[in-house]
């Protein structure tokens, strides 16, 4: 499954917004997520990908930014396996 698909799945599990809104170019604000929701969402991403997103990285604007960072952090922090529970 692609990173985008997995991000979409998390979104679908936790929010009632239409999943079509999750496009690479969409900004987080345009989806209707406020700053507190964003922290919550990043936490869900950390669990899904078994990564730690450093605080300085959270100035993320678009879904594509998120995907890029996830893929980089997965590679750096967790190159052996993407799944904690796998």
């Amino acid at each position: 499954m692609s990173t985008l698909e997995r991000v979409k799945n998390i979104f679908q599990k936790n929010y009632d917004f239409p999943v079509e809104m999750i496009r690479p170019e969409a900004t987080i604000e345009s989806i209707g997520i406020d700053s507190l929701d964003k922290v919550d969402f990043l936490f869900a991403l950390e669990k899904e990908f078994n990564i730690t997103i450093p605080d300085r990285e959270v100035s993320l604007n678009s879904i594509q930014d998120i995907i890029n960072i996830i893929e980089r952090l997965v590679h750096e922090q967790n190159g052996r396996s993407n799944h904690k529970d796998a």
Partner: protein
Amino acid sequence: MRRVAITGMGIISPLGNSCESFFNSLAAGKSAIKRITTDFSEHFSGRIAAEVNFVAENHFPKQIARTLDRVSQFALAAASQAWMDAGMQLSEEKKRRAGVYLGTGMGGATTLEDSYDQLFQQKVKRLHPLTVVMVMNNAAASAISMQYGLKGPCLTFSTACSSSTVAIGEAFRLIKHDYADVILAGGAESLLTRGIMMSWESIGTLALEAEDPSTSCRPFSKDRTGFVLGEGAAVLVLESWNLAMTRGAHIYGEVVGYGSTADGEHITKPSVEGQSFAMKAALHDAGMGSDHIDYINAHGTATVANDVAETQAIKNVFGRRAYDIPISSTKSMHGHLLGAAGAVELVAAVLALKNRTVPPTATLAVPDPVCDLDYVPGKARTGVDLRTVMSNSFAFGGTNAVLIVQKHE
């Protein structure tokens, strides 16, 4: 001083998630107490509780539900019912004179316990970022004020089992003395978690499971063994009489008296004197004598300590007339909702007024010579002309609170 009307009520309870289903069950003497189904029930002996049947996603969008502990979900759902029931619509200006007064014993304890489990058992590195705002005791009240944009006082009262009676009583005073016009007042509790249930088990006040689990809580009965934990919420719309009349609102009744005292003696042992003073204070507040009360919804926890003390306190306050007043403990059916108990029981008392029906102490089968008042054993009484009802709440920590509501005719 202004008069205070009850114009809306909402409830999430083990006996149903509407006032109608709640009172129908009470009137039928139906108990919601049963064996719990959770995976931790094997770890302790008291495997009974009064659970609420509640699916958050039927009430809120996922993005709201996931930010609220179960206790706040209950509170918000009960408040929504009450708000709609009252037909409340407030201008931005009026919202500055509207607020929320809520009682809870332990707030978001479910989330806290879950966090500890993750931290200490599952050894997670980080906790959920919303843990603080889900656990804090004022989360439920805040969720309600946010839902309706209310800008008046938003306060949380925590006095264990009398929390929501205190919240409603203080809201009554606030409106009476012209500090606010509308208060959503009540309480919420959700503590059916492994740690909390085992804590209650340890202190030794929980009922043993009866052969028919639904009859395990037996207030005022000689064979009582303690209370059964419940969960839920109830919220009432209190508003100034003038506003209610101007709006043409339906008025369930008028809050006429509130009394609050502290035992100042012992952390768990109830005081006959403290309870008597609270009832007397409420009667004094209402300008009423002992002849005026037609029904008492007792605190009636089914512990020996409470039932004997409460019986004696009622005798102290009402004298000979104590024997003529129907008194019941609806905890026999919905369990002990702790911080939400007073609000849920006030709703029961107000619905008793409305339906001219005294709900029973459903499980009282063996009379106790020490508890010799009329506890309405077994079956409800219908067609009873009730005008004024009293609801008692007493608590660990010693805060006693009593409310009196009069029918509006």
